[in-house]
Symmetry: C2
Subunit: 400 residues, 2 copies
């Protein structure tokens, strides 16, 4: 097999990790021949001749077989990946934001142009979720994929919860350790988990759902009283993303904080780790656990995709063509906890039933049944308010 | 894609599970057209016309594309799989004993005859260990695979340990629940875990090591005093199979009870579950957890292999051709606990150093460093004795 020639876009934390991992891996039979970066004048550890700031130096180079794209700018990533795929170059990408918005188009382009796009590193870093959903759970027995997909929000919640650290300190620490993005809203508002969930759902259910159609609620409004409540009930608060079949004909998706009891697998997924539960008919629950982010874990996942391409591996998107595929719905009853102070939650949110209501000088909360579609309809009204929402899984997801 | 026609060998617990799973899976596009069984006169739930007791009714039928083999008799399984592969039929097999002894030959036959053999169900039932080692961890970063690979011995140890059940009662219960084979020695002497480890190692390291060359020690001689000792030290006793690189040039393998502290992933793998830790450079540790055995979990794994063959998937055995592959060695220092009564362990086993020695009216034990090769040399002398050995992981495997 001839040596694969790689053009790399991005030489930040992950890009440098890929360079390092390829050096370590004697049998990879792949070589980075050109690296495209935004700032050509920044001092680098490698010889200057390998760098360029012109994307076309890679995209138009017929010697380069494979584009590896790990840049932060989603729009630039989109243009690069699209041009590469259209010109017949294969691509390995780690850009979840870009993929979550453009995956449908990329599936079509791959088909039309014969090129292949692999992106296991985009969801859960070193945990091979996409590959397993695509290859191993490639039948219609799958019922649910649920997990902690964002390492930095999980790190923050672990610090706050297990170490009684103030939220602000935990956030700062996550940033210092490099787990959180410099703009932390991406992590703590649940967007990172949402984008990964969109990608996962394509391979889990065979359906692409636009991020805007999915209820997403983050952890930034968590309050001491929420933590106290969870401790009293002997549960942890985790930011959970899930896609689940709720019947033969429907599935639902959402990202929100959840009260997780000790009996669940994801209860013990702490710090910057990710954990994914795959539940299906016949095989029940499988749990995959590992480092979801970071330079080398992500780079090792990229390496797996690079080597897969050497063996002509591509996603088949088999489930997109399944018969009797379920449709996306938000017409699902959830039991939720809503803690609020000024916002008049009882007037704002229409509950189907209310189980508990608590009012004190310090905090107020309400526990009840609500439709996911109602949360979707009110999400703009809820944004930025001193309101914290957590899912209490009792309805369709009582098994994990 | 045309419907795949399957000839099934075996209609026991797993065989019936496969039949059921294929009925459930609308998109499998596969049909069992003939089932070969040992006793044609036994009453069955299906129409008699589907059954035969002549293997050649399947093997010589040109209409049948794929042989699925899930029988207990390893010799018969060998003959069936060999004939099928040699005549160009693809095979999905769940027979770990047969595979552990004949995998080298089957790799050669696949190459020569162009047919494909898949066997993910043979190791850890529904957990896709083989597929992930082959496809995702397909580089030379992998350092170690370690896990609880046998559900019934783990079930027994969980009962004994967490529920203070007498060993004999736990064993009987495991048999009643269908976790243990009717001849339980296969499970409790570690053979089942050993055979799975042999198969896993082919895909983890790219090396086939004959089962006879691997030190294997089971749990049948466990004693109340061993359990008491482990409880005092706040560890659990688990039957652990492992393969680990100990240097750039060497790797080692063994199956034996191990003292597992709460910080390790496998500590919380209880009852009939399996758990596998994959450790590598860059990605650190990944943990996969699920139901390792049972009718439907195993059948769902077989279904994955059946669907993989529809998409022309085959194992590439890439690592067999890696440069600078490590060699198998037993020249490894282990720290072990040996509890004994009559057998004169201090004379029988040569320890490199002794850390602790304990003698009371009720029990004696010794903790010290020993070469794995010394345990290998004395394994016949240890067999059937009132001796219990447990690995205390401190040397090369202190990370999982």
């Amino acid at each position: 097999m001839s040596k694969i020639k790689i053009g790399l876009f991005g030489f930040g934390v992950v890009g440098r990790g890929i360079y390092e991992v390829l050096l370590k891996s004697k049998n990879a039979n792949a070589e980075i021949v050109k690296i495209c970066i935004a700032d050509i004048n920044k001092p680098r550890t490698l010889d200057a001749s390998i760098f360029t700031d012109r994307a076309d130096d890679i995209l138009d180079d017929p010697e380069i077989d494979l584009v590896v794209e790990v840049i932060n700018d989603a729009d630039a990533a989109y243009r690069i990946v699209k041009k590469a795929l259209c010109s017949g170059k294969d691509v390995v990408s780690g850009s979840k934001t870009m993929l979550a918005f453009h995956l449908e188009e990329f599936i079509e382009i791959q088909k039309r142009c014969g090129s292949a796009l692999l992106y296991d590193a985009s969801s859960c870093g070193s945990i091979p979720v996409i590959r397993n959903l695509e290859e191993y759970y490639d039948n219609d027995l799958l019922l649910e994929v649920k997990g902690i997909l964002n390492g930095s929000s999980n790190y923050i919640l672990s610090r706050v919860f297990d170490h009684s650290m103030p939220y602000e300190t935990a956030l700062r620490q996550a940033q210092e350790l490099g787990f959180a993005e410099s703009d932390p809203s991406f992590d703590i508002d649940g967007l990172d988990a949402l984008f990964k969930l969109v990608i996962i759902t394509v391979h889990a259910i065979g359906a692409y759902v636009h991020p805007d159609r999915i209820f997403t609620y983050g952890i930034s409004s968590i309050h001491e009283s929420d933590i106290r409540y969870a401790r009293e009930k002997n549960v942890k608060i985790k930011l959970v993303a899930q896609v689940a079949k709720i019947s033969e004909s429907d599935f639902t998706m959402f990202v929100m904080p959840e009260f997780v009891p000790p009996s669940r697998y994801i209860y013990s997924v702490d710090d910057e780790y990710n954990g994914v539960v795959i539940r299906g008919e016949c095989y029940d629950r499988q749990f995959m656990f590992g480092k979801g982010a970071g330079s080398l874990p992500t780079a090792s996942s990229i390496l797996s995709d690079i080597m897969a391409r050497q063996h002509r591996y591509r996603y088949e998107y088999k489930k997109l063509h399944f018969q009797d595929k379920p449709s996306y719905t938000t017409d699902v009853r959830l039991k939720i906890y809503v803690r609020y102070s000024e916002t008049d939650i009882p007037s704002l949110l229409h509950f189907l039933s209310v189980d508990e209501q608590y009012v004190s000088k310090e905090s107020r909360y309400l526990i009840g049944e609500i439709l996911l579609s109602e949360l979707m309809a009110k999400r703009d009204a809820l944004r930025g308010k001193d309101v914290f929402i957590a899912n209490i899984p009792t309805f369709f997801t009582d098994l994990d």
